[in-house]
């Protein structure tokens, strides 16, 4: 048992898992509010990271200004996507909606490659100290910031959904659209708002990953990794999404540990979450916290 390797790996898994949790939360937000499975979640990270990078390098904005402008842009981006692409598809079979988000994903991935190229571009240095020593593991300042932001976002979500009017409206729409409409809640506005919030939150995650690893098309892969996380946690549970993300992050790194110590295959880090996904679908398809769908005739 190589503790010197295992502990840093688990710590790394928790940090990356927090990011997965943030992305998974945004995914679940869209699913809960509008029953749409967003296969383009990874592209929200990508677009947010590239836009922020562009503002910082092309326009020489200070980080906080660039960050806020990016968030404003992503809000608009999310709303426009929902209005232009998803609203005409309300009521269509689920395969059509899935294909639409897949099509969006492909389109934006290629668009980003066209505009910004295929090379990974690093962010300009933002923090005075690049990394910090925590429990013997050097952690990037950006990752610590992301942990802090993730916790803030989760608390924000919790407050939003329990105490604010719009949050309650969203929960009502998720529960029963027709009753919500009859109570005067504008369902299309709720949909648009859910997409906007999801885009903003994912963009924050994208910017964090971009600061640490550089911005490249690899960010889209977060959108694929989110599926094991939300399936594990339950498709319509925000708490489940967070836990699912953390578990998947740790699982990846544990798989890497097993691979490095005993198996020596080299691929377990990338493929283990998908095996986990299949197993979860077989034994507990609704995840840890998801509500079981009851079929009515």
């Amino acid at each position: 048992m190589d503790w010197a390797l295992l502990v840093p790996l688990v710590l790394n898994g928790l940090i990356v898992g927090a990011l997965y949790g943030v992305v998974a939360m945004s995914f679940v937000l869209i699913y809960k509010a509008s029953q749409v499975v967003n296969f383009a979640q990874g592209e929200f990270l990508l677009v947010g990271a590239w836009v922020c990078w562009w503002l910082l390098t092309e326009w020489q904005l200070p980080f906080y200004a660039g960050f806020l402008v990016t968030l404003a842009f992503m809000t608009l981006f999310g709303i426009i996507l929902q209005v232009v692409v998803l609203r005409p598809l309300i009521g269509e079979p689920v395969i059509s909606v899935i294909m639409a988000t897949i099509g969006l994903g492909i389109f934006f991935q290629a668009l980003m490659k066209w505009i910004f190229g295929v090379f990974a571009k690093p962010f300009p240095p933002i923090f005075p100290a690049d990394r910090v020593l925590v429990f013997g593991l050097q952690i990037q300042t950006a990752y610590l910031l992301s942990l802090g932001i993730s916790v803030l976002i989760m608390l924000g979500f919790a407050w939003f959904f329990t105490a604010s009017k719009h949050g309650l409206a969203m929960r009502a729409t998720a529960f029963d659209q027709q009753v919500a409409q009859s109570l005067g809640i504008s369902v299309p506005k709720v949909f648009a708002m859910s997409w906007a919030i999801s885009a903003v939150v994912s963009a924050v995650a994208g910017i964090v990953v971009g600061i640490v690893n550089g911005v490249s098309s690899a960010l889209s892969f977060y959108g694929i990794k989110v599926f094991p996380a939300v399936i594990l946690g339950g498709l319509d549970s925000v708490v489940g999404a967070v836990l699912g993300g953390l578990i998947i992050g740790v699982l990846e790194n544990l798989a890497q540990y097993v691979d490095a110590e005993w198996l020596h295959w080299g691929n377990m880090y990338t493929v283990a979450p998908f095996y986990a996904l299949i197993i979860i679908l077989m034994i507990k398809p609704y995840g840890l916290f998801g509500t079981k769908a009851i079929e009515r005739v």
């Binding site: 990356v16 295929v118 690093p122 593991l137 098309s217 690899a218 990846e252 490095a260 880090y269």
Partner: protein
């Protein structure tokens, strides 16, 4: 593509109808990776190739005949390269400038069957066994495959020799540990066996290889594994793009390792992108000088560069110069073939590669290193010039040109290792 094909069809038809026409264009295929996994290094190399043939055409071509480059971006997908090749073999190309290891190895049988010489961007050692008689299991005759520079395996062997000397010079106790890092793909895997065998021979402890993908990503877990294994020398088998991710992640994780790169693993653009993380990487450089240095042939290099950059301000990384040298090999082989007279065939061009010994293309003395090809052995050179990337400051401000000029980034020569041309090391 239909327009181009139509035109090519007409040219081929005209060629058939008038076999003695002296002004016929020379058809060459060119596979580029401008958008795929290795596009970070594929783009400058392809630029060098295209610019060289453009420059030659501007001077009237070779022997009065101009080149017709059929350049296609195949995105590092071997099946696309194969399907493109099948279109070209019918269009009667007399040579192909290729790129990646996977597609070059896939096309070996095809180019041997169709007798078309193939200069690749891949330096896989399996491409050097021209007659197929090396005795290695599964050896295939690669009589029509060439490349400019040392093979990946030979370059790795040279770096391991240097690493063994470096370990002794440092006076460190015990045996040094070596690990191969790269993607599970023919290009990074190419020198793995040869490297690990050589390392054992030189007294290294060979650790289990570490896998990381050809695309940029988060490789913290791999770096933590590297750290815990206590490796001293690590070979990075991928191109600069993903190597940068590993270098940065390992710097953060506090890994203390001497990285050894392959020819595509480090360049000036990567040094700027990775910053201090790229400091100290040792890797082979295929040309005698880099951009900005003086040599008799640099005037022509700058002329070639002006084909796509009339202002002359662009900085050309090491891969661009290597592209020029590789293209000039093909161009001079075509020249030899035309000089023989009669119809220009791929076979004659291939024989043109054997026409010269210690071959430095005319006009590029001091830039391109000498190559020698023989019908049995396509290892053009066994001399490996090792450089170290030195980054001494912040690279986020300023262009590559400026950073190289003011000394923030430097390519420092380390050693030049001349390997012996051993029969038993051919082909792997």
């Amino acid at each position: 593509m239909s327009m181009r094909r139509g035109m090519l069809g007409m040219v081929a038809a005209a060629a058939l109808a008038m076999p003695a026409a002296a002004q016929q264009r020379i058809n060459l295929g060119h596979l580029m990776d401008l958008s795929g996994a290795t596009s970070d290094v594929g783009t400058p190399f392809a630029q060098g190739v295209n610019d060289t043939f453009g420059w030659l055409n501007g001077r009237g071509g070779v022997s009065g005949r101009q080149f017709n480059m059929l350049a296609v971006d195949y995105g590092y997908q071997a099946p696309r390269a194969v399907s493109q090749y099948q279109a070209w073999s019918r269009d009667r190309v007399v040579g192909i400038m290729g790129w990646g290891t996977a597609d070059t190895e896939a096309l070996v049988r095809f180019v041997t069957r169709d007798r078309i010489p193939y200069v690749s961007g891949s330096y896989a050692a399996t491409l050097t066994d021209a007659a197929g008689k090396s005795g290695r299991p599964g050896a295939e005759a690669t009589g029509f495959n060439f490349f400019y520079g040392p093979s990946y395996s030979d370059a790795l062997r040279a770096m391991l020799r240097w690493a063994a000397d470096d370990w002794k010079a440092k006076g460190a106790p015990g045996r040094p540990k070596y690990v191969h890092m790269g993607a599970n793909h023919p290009y990074p895997n190419s020198p793995k066996e040869a490297g690990e065998a050589m390392a054992k021979e030189l007294g290294f402890d060979v650790l289990p290889p570490i896998v990381f993908a050809l695309t940029p990503g988060d490789y913290t877990a791999q770096c933590l594994t590297l750290k815990s294994q206590g490796a001293n020398y690590a070979y990075l088998g991928n191109t600069a793009g993903s190597n940068i991710s590993v270098l940065r992640a390992c710097q953060t994780a506090g890994v203390n390792v001497q990285f050894l790169g392959n020819v595509w693993g480090m360049d000036e653009n990567a040094m700027k992108a990775a910053g201090a993380a790229a400091n100290g990487v040792v890797f082979p450089v295929r040309t005698a000088v880099v951009w900005g240095q003086q040599a008799p042939g640099m005037a022509n290099v700058e002329a070639v560069s002006k084909v796509s950059d009339p202002t002359g301000r662009a900085y050309r990384p090491v891969h661009y110069l290597a592209g020029i040298c590789a293209s000039m090999l093909m161009a001079e082989a075509v020249e030899s073939a035309i000089a023989k007279g009669g119809e220009l065939t791929g076979e004659k061009v291939r024989d043109g590669f054997y026409a010269r010994q210690n071959w430095v293309p005319k006009g590029f003395e001091g830039v391109c290193n000498p190559s020698t090809f023989t019908p049995e052995d396509h290892r053009g050179t066994l001399r490996v010039a090792l450089y170290r990337s030195v980054v001494s400051g912040d690279t986020s401000n300023g262009s590559v040109q400026e950073l190289m000029a003011n000394g923030t980034m430097k390519l420092q020569p380390v050693a030049t290792i001349e390997l012996e041309r051993k029969r038993e090391l051919l082909g792997w």
